[in-house]
Amino acid sequence: MSLEPRAPAAVEPASICLDVLLSLGRHGLTQRPRRADLDARALEMALTFQHKGKPGNTTLSCWHAGPAEQDTEIALRAYLGMGLPSIRWMHMAPAGDALAPLHEALRAPVDADARLVLCGMHAEQGEGSGLLPIALAERLGWRWVPGVVAIEAIEPISSGVAQAVVLQALPRGQRRRIAVRLPAILGVEAAAPAPRQSAFGPARRGQLLQLDSGAEPPTDPAGATWPFMPATPRPKRLKIVTSANARERFKAAAAKAESGSGRVLEQVSATEGATAILDFLDAEGVVSRAAVTNARQGNGR
């Protein structure tokens, strides 16, 4: 994607510590374990940043908190296949709350000038509400930046304080640049660059450092009482007709959702065709209404 260039960062802090929080993902159709897409994008962002900077400057550590199950191992190995030497895997009961062990892991001070945590905006498993990183940031007293698609730079602003310049995804492919004081947690968005391929060799070689979090973390109280069920398809909203007229309401209720075939304009002039298209684009809201009316007026003249 071509972007307005930004003035290059003056200096890079001497040492940067990147942590990536990884979770178990599942394929939408088959439910087979795999990398969670957003977390994989977060890891990709971290790996890209590490590769881009001065060698040895950036240390990368990856965390997972979850039960010791085979599916989890398959998913974590898929992350390792992106070229990670190891993932720290904090064992936890299936109903456990990942907040406590992750907080414990990240709270430990590290010897780095800049500290940044990356994760996907929400998990593919469980509630997936995207609350965890916010709660984590709140507990740690760190900044939380949602919707991140790129880390442009990490630069020192004063002694001991660094900031990260990141790009945030706005809808429709637009971007916003944000500078955030570190330490911070970045939530990575689906518009971030796609993760690299997971390769078999590194996945097999990489190490899963199994950590036993000493005290059993508190279980998530909600999980037990609130039932999960397969998503029911949401009904399509009907066009609401407010008319008091019975015929109008009947028409709205009885109308077919979509007509089978579209309108075909044959043997029309280029202008007529273009106007029809512009009307359509206007109705769909992708080209400005004002532009169309102006164009019509211009046309009328």
């Binding site: 509630e127 790009l167 637009q174 998503a231 609401i240 273009a274 359509f280 080209v287 532009a291």
Partner: protein, 502 residues
């Protein structure tokens, strides 16, 4: 279509006539040589009249004359009105329709439901209205029950449910220099269902922490029963989650259905879609709600007061300077370069495009992302990553405008998820035309050029007028522009400007 016009005219002139059995006989006999002439003379249709006032004052219809010719040459009677009803006069009727909404005033609310709309580009989005609709349900439905229990017999036109109702309160977080409620926005809020409006100034630009502080100030002042946010990634969704975490609540995220539930403390239970979209979570309705689009029907039948509620932020509500997050502004992105899978509007070219410069120009002017068929890519007109189709990128644009693409199966598979497809093609029988919602048969290059020239001058005028009003892209806050129809032209402006600078 002329039938519809003449019908209404005829109704006015309908008068009783003397009966003539012979003429009536001819009028009944469709095979009579004078049938049509007699019908016309009797004012019973003929000459294309589909309905007329019968002798007993009832409307008579000639079923042979209603309906329109279908595509296969057979007459279709379409009671849905999709074909006939789309004609002009009805549009006029709706425009002049009397506003029939009831006015609702909550003078003395029992509590507050706070709604923080996203106000993308300064206006209420569909999603915002849905959330207001949800708020109204929460405020009114159980209140109605309570009101019923009190056996209030007043059959008043005004819904007066004071004392039992909650006030839906819109909390507007507007950039600080000019944080005033404009009248258009006020009307929109009133129609969306807001009883009260609070305007709080926040720091301009992207400042989630300041917005959170404003919400917290409101929370302290009003302690609302519920906080409702639209679940948009960067705006309401984020703010709602932050607020919940700060308040120590567990929010309902991705909420899409609410049902009364006496077992729950709040009196409601809800269904939330999980992050993966594959599961639903049923739970009691919590205090903080981050609701998905179409979580409830927007308010249509009532109009509310939207009375401004004075509340000011004290200085201690402002976080300490300097801000930990700094908005460095929007980054101009060339729509042509937006990743295809993300793009909302794609102009795709295929083998039938001869003038590629014209194609690029049209894409630029329309603010469309460029796509291409495999053939166009193979021919080297477009880079490979712009290829749409099963062997390229699967796209999910809102509008897909295909020029000179005949529609190979692989290509059609790639555009399956597009909402609307427009085809410009010289071959009316090709598969793309069959798939398209609108097809123009003709020379693609000429039509594109015409389209570009139609849009181009207006864009310039539009930008000029916007700069006069002081709402140019520089002045507008970089908020969520999701539902803004202005966005594409606005983007083109930005690009043009950035190019001028460059």
């Amino acid at each position: 279509m002329s039938d519809v016009h003449s019908t209404s005219q005829h109704q006015q002139h309908a008068v009783r006539r003397r009966r003539d059995p012979r003429l009536e006989g001819i009028a009944r006999n469709r095979r009579h040589p004078e049938h049509l002439a007699v019908l016309a003379a009797l004012g019973q249709g003929g000459e294309g009249q589909a309905s007329w006032m019968g002798p007993n004052g009832r409307m008579r219809r000639d079923p042979h004359l209603v309906g329109v010719m279908g595509p296969n040459g057979r007459r279709r009677i379409d009671r849905s009105g999709a074909l006939v009803g789309a004609a002009g006069p009805q549009q006029g009727r709706t425009a002049t329709q009397r506003d029939q909404r009831r006015d609702v005033v909550v003078a003395d609310p029992a509590g507050v439901i706070a709604v923080v709309p996203d106000l993308a580009s300064g206006r209420l989005s569909e999603h915002d209205r849905d959330v207001f609709g949800l708020a109204r349900r929460l405020a009114d439905e159980r209140a109605d029950e309570r009101a019923d229990e009190r056996a209030d017999e007043r059959a008043d036109d005004r819904a007066d449910i004071d004392g039992s109702s909650l006030a839906v309160t819109a909390l507007l977080l507007l950039p600080s220099p000019s944080a005033t409620l404009e009248s258009a926005l006020h009307d929109a809020l009133a129609e969306a269902g807001a009883d009260r409006v609070i305007v709080l100034p926040v720091a301009p630009g992207y400042s989630p922490e300041d917005r959170l502080a404003a919400c917290l100030a409101a929370d302290r002042a009003l302690s609302p029963r519920h906080w409702l946010f639209p679940d948009a990634t960067l705006e309401g969704g984020d703010l709602g989650r932050r607020l919940a975490v700060r308040l120590g609540e567990r929010p309902a995220c991705g909420l899409w259905r609410v049902e009364p539930d006496d077992a729950s403390d709040s009196g409601w239970s809800c269904l939330c879609r999980s992050g993966s979209g594959r599961q639903d979570l049923a739970r009691p309705l919590p205090r903080v709600v981050v609701a998905a689009a179409q979580c409830a029907e927007p308010v249509t039948a009532t109009r509310h007061e939207a009375r401004e509620w004075p509340l000011s932020r004290t200085s201690c509500d402002h976080p300490e300077a300097p801000l930990p997050m700094q908005d460095l502004g929007a980054v101009a992105v060339d729509p042509a370069a937006i990743a295809l899978a993300e793009a909302p509007f794609i102009l795709a070219g295929g083998n039938g495009v001869g003038d590629w410069d014209g194609f690029h120009h049209a894409a630029r002017v329309l603010g469309a992302s460029e796509g291409a068929s495999r053939v166009a890519v193979d021919e080297g007109h477009m880079p490979r990553e712009r290829q749409v189709g099963a062997t390229g990128t699967f796209v999910s644009a809102r509008v897909y405008l295909a020029v000179g693409i005949s529609g190979a199966i692989q290509h059609l598979q790639g555009i399956q998820r597009c909402e609307k497809v427009i085809a410009i093609n010289s071959d009316g029988g090709c598969d793309m035309v069959k798939r398209a919602d609108l097809s123009v048969i003709g020379d693609g290059d000429a039509i594109l050029a015409e389209l570009a020239s139609l849009v181009e001058p207006s864009l310039v005028e539009q930008r000029d007028s916007r700069q006069q009003l002081g709402v140019g892209p520089e002045a507008s806050s970089p908020t969520d522009p999701t539902e803004s129809p202005d966005m594409s032209s606005l983007l083109s402006d930005r690009i043009k400007e950035s190019r001028h600078v460059a």
